[in-house]
């Protein structure tokens, strides 16, 4: 009885705390309004719009060639895959025959982009749970990919290398040599990642059993990419709806069933190995031929609706174009992976601590410009 009175007298109160928009763990201008009881999270409300640039509206103004460069600025870590999505959508609508060379080069560059994105994620993930060293190791290996991109595409991050009909330029003569160098380099460095972080007891205690997402919830929240696959939801677009050259390579879809932060971590590490193997399979036999099919200077899509989805480093990116037959799309909608992955944050973070929220957010791998567009 006495303890009950004591408990009632010291009843805790819920209070609100802002995480972001300027917070190092949110990796961008994402504001989370946390409802907290003590240190237990009761509710997470993401507040978006701090970096909204109305890209979808701008697409209605631009021609189809111009749209491509805007997608660089959405998910800037997988810029090339975003470009590919728009180009594939336009090419499918025009029913263009794309040369094999273009398909293979696009796939190689997409996989390199995926590795570079996961490298950055790995470094940041370690930093979020308190291991600053990983940041430098991840960026070291990412630097090599950035150099490859700079030599071939001209830019390190926002390349705008794909155009409707192929590639803006043919690959640089050094491309194959540099990619091979990178593959051998990264194969020796990737085990270091495991030794440094994966096996670490502190890291495992921070991540195992944290932010558990069941398979049913993953599907109902529309999770995609490594987040969905860590919950046992087989959702790899490359596997189920192959585009470009993914139908001719063999790779296994990284699937885990635990659905916790650690499983999401393992899925991404495994994906880096798979991406390396895809690059290895394709790099030796890039077919000869044209790097670009000529299109009309003014591209007009036939009247109708077109949808194309690709697998970016974060999940499924969908491009939905409604055309009325003019040179601009009537409406262009991006189904971005980050937005649906963020939507489940409230579901998996409730009941945990703030420190766990940071670890959970790190493995959701949110890129805020992708969410806000």
């Amino acid at each position: 009885m006495e303890t009950e009175i004591l408990y009632n007298n010291f009843k805790s109160e819920e209070y609100f705390i802002n995480m972001g928009p300027q917070h190092p763990a949110t990796h961008g201008v994402l504001r989370l309004v946390l409802t907290i009881d003590g240190e237990i999270i009761k509710k997470v409300e993401p507040d978006l719009g701090y970096i909204h640039r109305s890209i979808e509206k701008m697409c209605e103004r631009d021609s189809y060639q111009q749209i491509v460069h805007l997608t660089d600025r959405m998910d800037y870590l997988s810029a090339n895959i975003n470009n590919e999505a728009v180009c594939l959508a336009v090419e499918n609508a025009l029913q263009l025959e794309i040369p094999e060379r273009v398909k293979v080069i696009r796939t190689i560059i997409a996989e390199l982009t995926r590795i570079s994105s996961h490298c950055l994620w790995w470094g940041v993930m370690g930093m979020d749970v308190g291991a600053l060293t990983t940041y430098f190791y991840g960026f070291r290996d990412r630097e090599m990919i950035n150099d490859i991109m700079e030599e071939t595409c001209g830019a390190r991050l926002t390349m705008n290398y794909n155009v409707p009909g192929g590639l803006m330029l043919d690959i640089h003569p050094n491309f194959v040599k540099r990619v091979k160098e990178f593959v051998t380099h990264f194969k020796s460095k990737l085990p270091e990642y495991d030794r440094l972080l994966t096996g670490n007891v502190i890291f495992q205690k921070r991540t195992k059993g944290v932010g558990v997402l069941s398979r049913e919830d993953a599907i109902s929240f529309g999770a995609s990419g490594p987040v969905g696959r860590a919950s046992g939801y087989s959702c790899d677009v490359r596997k189920h709806h192959p585009y470009s050259a993914y139908d001719r390579v063999t790779f296994t879809e990284a699937l885990h069933t635990e659905g916790d932060t650690y499983a999401r971590y393992l899925v991404r590490i495994q994906e880096m190995w798979e991406s390396l193997s895809i690059v290895e399979q394709l790099i030796d036999n890039i077919p000869e031929g044209e790097h670009r099919v000529s299109t009309n200077a003014v591209i007009k899509l036939p009247k109708g609706e077109y949808y194309q989805k690709v697998e970016t480093a974060r999940g499924e990116l969908g491009v939905y174009i409604i055309s009325t037959g003019t040179k601009n799309p009537y409406r262009l909608k991006f189904r971005s992976p980050g937005f649906s992955n963020l939507s489940l944050l409230n579901h998996i973070a409730v009941g945990g601590k703030i420190g766990d929220l940071v670890a959970t957010m790190a493995t959701l791998d949110l890129v805020i410009p992708d969410i806000d567009r």
Binding site: E150, C153, N160, R195, L197, G199, I202
Partner: protein, 158 residues
């Protein structure tokens, strides 16, 4: 018992991780990718395709290759390129012909998408390698790319 095994496991993984960092501590000079940027400016060479800024190459006789077709102006998504043109008398044929007066390039609006250079039929504009563009006044980023008194190179339009 599990208490001690956890301590053992913790120390073991700690040492495994430190062996990785220790290796780099000893061989820190090998494989360093950090560039000492402001100090290496003399030797720093960007890649050929590096997109620094749009330039218009001129030859020794102060001639450029731009015919003023305005394809780049139309291709640009941001209104970065502005071409002011008029009709001059072509000396060879005596007919009226379009020629550029000013090729204005707003670097501050440029997203380096490369569509203008991709679409140019005469290779009149190219990527420049310069990337040190920080200035005190934004208006200095608006440039006129054709040099004063420059003319169209012979034989470009054929």
């Amino acid at each position: 018992m599990s208490y001690f095994s956890e301590i053992y496991k913790g120390i073991k993984t700690l040492l495994t991780g430190m062996s990785v960092t220790g290796k780099y501590f000893v061989t820190s000079r090998k494989g360093a990718i950090t560039q000492q940027y402001p100090d290496n400016r003399d030797t720093l060479k960007m890649f050929d395709r590096f997109r620094g800024e749009v330039i218009m190459p001129h030859n020794e006789e102060n001639e450029h290759r731009c015919t003023g077709c305005q394809k780049c102006e139309i291709a640009c998504p941001n209104g970065t390129i502005e071409i002011i043109w008029d009709r001059g008398i072509d000396e060879a044929t005596g007919k009226k012909k379009k020629k550029i007066d000013q090729f204005i390039y707003h670097l501050s609006m440029c997203t380096m998408c490369g569509l203008c250079i991709d679409v140019c039929p005469h290779d009149a504009i190219k990527w420049g390698q310069n990337f040190e563009n920080s200035v005190y006044d934004r208006s200095t980023l608006t440039r006129v790319l054709n040099k004063p008194g420059s003319t169209l190179m012979q034989g470009v339009e054929d």
